[in-house]
């Protein structure tokens, strides 16, 4: 029962994080493209497409986690995204590029990447890592395990 509670709590928290993250980016595609460009990781030709699509992927992912649908895919995707963001942060910190995080806001100079943003990302990774374990590794198919009604009869 406790495991069930933790599982659903983690799922909803991670879902909310992605919803918060996509909101400003969806509103300001031009500014977000600037953020993506500044990371200097993607070829120029992929910058705009990423800026257009990524926020919507975050939105769909957040909704999927919160409403408990397509959970295995959502959990896998969430982990992949967070690992990618985390690597991008670390890589740019390591090479000393002074870029704004663009994690939750697209305003230029809003939040520079630093150790705090890395730690914050790590805490998200812990949550998503736990979900990965609970939903995909711990045995029973996630969809069954995650469904609210069945959880209560267990």
């Amino acid at each position: 029962m406790r495991g069930q509670f933790l599982y659903h709590a983690a799922r909803i928290v991670l879902g909310l994080i992605f919803l918060f993250a996509c909101y400003d980016k969806i509103l300001h595609p031009g500014e977000f493209a600037e953020v993506v460009y500044n990371y200097q990781l993607l070829p120029d030709s992929l910058v705009n497409v990423t800026a257009i699509l990524l926020p919507w992927v975050e939105l769909a992912l957040g909704l999927s986690l919160i409403f408990n649908v397509w959970i295995p895919g959502a959990v896998l995707l969430g982990n992949l995204l967070l690992v990618a963001f985390f690597s991008a942060l670390l890589f740019n910190l390591a090479r000393g590029l002074d870029v704004s995080c663009g994690c939750f806001s697209t305003a230029p100079g809003e939040e520079a990447i630093d150790h705090f943003t890395v730690l914050r990302d790590m805490s998200f990774l812990l949550v998503s890592g736990y979900l990965f374990y609970a939903a995909l590794l711990s045995g029973s198919p996630a969809a069954e395990k995650a469904a609210w009604p069945r959880a209560e009869t267990e």
Binding site: I26, P29, L53
Partner: protein, 151 residues
């Protein structure tokens, strides 16, 4: 997972297509396209031209980085107008900005926007002949051109 991505991408593309502030699928991120003035003309000056103007003493360099970075090293003869405190420094330096020279702003890093912001500000303040040397401090040093410390 493919379903989530597919749905999101379709919606994302559709919304971008129809919203008034949608962006091009493939953007032009070249230097000339990124550093524009209010009229849409490129502000970028090449390192070769910048060097030439420097040798002919027809350039006035303006460092848009912080005072601390300026003190650690800057282009020889450059003024310091940190973008963070532009109002204060601008009033102090305004007399020295006047003249027949080309004002060339710079900061450090391919993606540094301080010099661009400063150049737009100076243009707005009425200085016509303003240029940006992109990634200025780095390319100046790489070219082995004269620098100063302190200030």
């Amino acid at each position: 997972m493919p379903a989530i991505i597919a749905v999101a991408c379709l919606i994302g593309l559709a919304v971008n297509q129809f919203r008034p502030d949608g962006i091009a699928l493939v953007g032009d991120w070249s230097q000339d396209a990124r550093f524009l003035d209010a009229a849409g003309d490129s502000l970028v000056v090449s390192i070769e031209t910048a060097e030439q103007l420097f040798r002919q003493e027809r350039a006035l360099f303006v460092d848009a980085r912080s005072q601390r970075e300026y003190a650690a090293g800057h282009i020889r003869g450059a003024l310091s107008i940190p973008w963070q405190e532009v109002d204060r420094y601008f009033i102090e330096m305004v007399d020295r900005l006047e003249g027949p020279h080309t004002i060339i702003t710079y900061c450090d890093g391919e993606t540094c926007d301080l010099s661009h912001d400063l150049a737009l500000f100076l243009k707005e303040m009425g200085f016509e002949n303003v240029r940006v040397l992109v990634n200025g401090w780095t390319v100046w040093k790489q070219g082995g051109l004269p620098t100063d410390e302190g200030g």
